[in-house]
Symmetry: C2
Subunit: 463 residues, 2 copies
């Protein structure tokens, strides 16, 4: 009998975050300002507190996790590493499937790892209120939770399609004292403009980000900042506790080698959180397949272009060098709301350019099929986002069976799907069809980026 749950003690939790920027063969291209020149820290200071801007730009390999942050994370961390023995048995695969269970946090996903850190650094800097966007609601819940524990005010712009699909998320944010409105909202200039042009739009993460930044910058007391749930370097940094814990846990069960590492990827943070410590191993010579899975409805990594683009719809953010479908792209209203983002984190994008990470796209129907198989074998109900990682893990386990290899597969179970069950019902009653972005839509959206500065993809070590 194999132990199916591998726990760490609190004192075994990592004390430092891992910064992949220190080890990338080719350094990241710098973010650019409106003038096309690299931005300076000052230019971000109305949006983020300076301590997080420093982290964003840091090239230190290891960054200490403040004790006060650890003390909050102990509410649910270290998160368990589990082995999916029941799925393995069903698949009759020789592969061992491990998954890091980030669904155990109070908000139900990996998001609180950075929400707590960001709220803490903002509070240290004297900030009283944070604004943010949310897709499926995981991030908005996480930031409401973190702000509640740290005594900050929290305002969340939630993409309308998810706001309507998942009313419980609003109630959850409210329980922790957060205020949640549907985006586009009448509360910001950009929101009003979009509502006028497209009154029935399902919304997008890009629009919600624009609204949240606008509200943060509009506070002339200087006590409000914006907080982003993914994409940026410091957000990915805070998530590396996932992969660092996983490594310790695999050591505990004497797994010396991991063959495949998988995460779903919307903005990139849960993927990076698990994968980056393994990307480091790969940079240093280990042979690992590292796979980032996106929905075929929003295929920036597999079909988008590597370019400079804005992080938000309205062009309020700096230009980031990343894979993108265009900042104006509004993905189809698939249920994996957390994966409906037009771009991919610059750090993740660069690992793809370097050939360290392989992107893969899956359709929502295949993903729901995998989610149902998971529920019927392992028992738990996963988030629609997470189902993308599970679909990939199943494919890799089948491949291992075909090859007759006892591979070790590790994926990030980024969140539970208990508040996303309406999507399951739609799938089970035949209301969901396979959906892939058409070439026409793709080309139209990419064509709109033609006037943006070019970002040359480089993997030779120097730009």
């Amino acid at each position: 009998m194999h132990e199916k749950k591998i726990f760490l003690k609190e004192q075994e939790m990592p004390r430092k975050w891992y910064n992949l920027a220190a080890d990338l063969p080719t350094p990241l291209l710098p973010p650019l300002g409106p003038d096309g020149k690299p931005i300076t820290p000052d230019m971000l200071s109305t949006v983020f507190p300076m301590n997080l801007i420093e982290q964003e730009m840091s090239s230190n390999r290891w960054i200490d996790i403040p004790t006060e942050i650890l003390e909050i994370l102990y509410r649910w961390r270290p998160a368990p590493l589990r082995r999916a023995v029941y799925l393995e048995q069903y698949l009759k695969t020789p592969a061992k499937i491990y998954y890091k269970d980030e669904s155990v946090s109070p908000a139900g996903s990996h998001k609180p790892n950075t929400a707590v850190a960001q709220a803490w650094y903002n509070k240290q800097f004297g900030i009283k209120k944070l604004t943010t966007e949310t897709g499926a609601g995981q991030w908005g819940s996480a930031l409401s939770f973190a702000c509640c524990l740290l005594g900050l005010e929290c305002k969340v712009f939630m993409v309308r399609v998810s706001f309507d699909q998942k009313p419980l998320r609003k109630a959850m944010m409210m329980t922790w004292g957060g205020k949640c409105v549907a985006s586009p909202s009448p509360e910001t200039e950009i929101g009003r403009k979009i509502l006028k042009e497209m009154p029935n739009t399902p919304g997008s993460l890009g629009i919600a980000i624009s609204e949240a930044i606008e509200e943060a910058v509009a506070d002339k007391t200087g006590k409000t900042r914006y907080s982003l749930g993914s994409v940026l370097n410091h957000v990915l940094l805070h998530q590396t506790i996932i992969g660092l814990e996983a490594k310790k846990q695999l050591e505990l069960v004497k797994e010396k080698k991991v063959d495949v590492v998988i995460g779903c990827a919307g903005g990139g943070s849960n993927f990076a959180g698990l994968a980056f410590p393994f990307v480091n191993d790969k940079i240093h010579g280990k042979k690992i397949d590292i796979i980032a899975v996106e929905p075929s409805a929003c295929p920036k990594m597999t079909r988008g272009i590597f370019t400079y683009d804005f992080g938000d719809c309205a062009g309020m953010t700096p230009l980031l060098a990343m894979y993108s479908l265009g900042h104006g792209f509004i993905p189809a209203p698939i249920h994996a709301g957390g994966l409906r983002y037009h771009g991919m984190a610059p750090l993740v994008s660069q690992t793809i350019v370097e050939g360290l990470v392989t992107p893969r796209a899956y359709d929502q129907v295949k993903c729901y099929e995998s989610a149902i198989l998971w529920a019927k074998t392992e028992g738990a109900i996963c988030a629609p986002e997470t189902s993308h990682a599970i679909a990939c893990a199943i494919d890799e386990a089948k491949k291992a069976k075909d090859e007759g290899k006892e591979k070790v597969i590790l994926f990030n179970y980024s969140g539970h799907g208990l508040m996303d069950l309406m999507g399951y019902e739609k799938f089970l009653t035949g209301q969901l069809q396979p959906y892939s972005l058409s070439d026409g839509e793709l080309n139209d959206s990419i064509a709109k980026m033609k006037d943006l500065p070019k970002a040359k993809a480089c993997k030779t070590g120097k730009w």
Copy 2:
């Protein structure tokens, strides 16, 4: 720093259930048939499989847990014991507050502990389909989950008020292959009768039980049985794994003495599951306060009578000796749907008669206030049912502070509230008022029981 999560390994999980019937100072009064005479096992055989009927009537102190059941429970068990240090700090109490976290099961509560066992015994007996009722949806989800893993068909009658309040529960049951309908339903004779008389009734557990039994008994192939989520001896038996695990975990952290044990109580199973191993200690001389908490809207233990009464609305079950508000009682539609039951398990009722357990009633507003305080300190969002136990734990921790005593308080965190958040929203927007059953309603309901056989409460050791 105190470890806040106390885990057991799989091999440390209890191998036997504890049967309090073996240790009660006064034996249980027997269930009675329609003729007023004690029922025989045969009389239950169209409703339950014989192996569970034997368990129901067993007076063995310890009953082996079959290995196949353990293997399924390992998906989430042993469940963690946690310490609520953040709540302790907020309350500035010298008390230590431990809680057994049953919310970690795939269905979100303690219910799968018995659902898996019941489905397994039914399958052993050759049964192909189970019918049941559900209040808040926790039990229906749990049985759907268990039937899914064991390859049985599952049909759930869900109390209408909860069916409407919690649509995600239906989707959850569907994900595991269960079929869920609102009760009263047009699918049974009793359902049609009640719908005709009271088309707008919120329903009750008593009604739903009648419908589920009717459907089970109506299958003339003999391959369908009924499954109950609480109340009966064998159900409480399966839940004792909770308290047995908790004892081992308290030993691990060197807690030699528990002062207060608390559980919320609807039918009595989560309460009994945690409390009965400690009731045994109390019978053998230990000083422990053991508190069963009910809602003031459905106060059978604090204001009902000890009597013979039916377990269901239509009078299809045997008569059970228990605290009851009358089998026709329809509780107000409070959000703690799992506590909306007119009676209390005979085993729990007898511990109250004996003075081993103290009942206490709390109002829903006080309970939601406690749930919010819990979310804002510990982080997690509890089920409305569980909030009753938390409210009591808070009161006991305050009392310990007043007395200046370093007490050890243990309660059962019976389930999470992620699918019950509409109740939180109603509370937070001022839509919920305190509610207690009026004397008039209480007396009317109790008066209707006047023709039932009397059950003399006895605590002298012999009836």
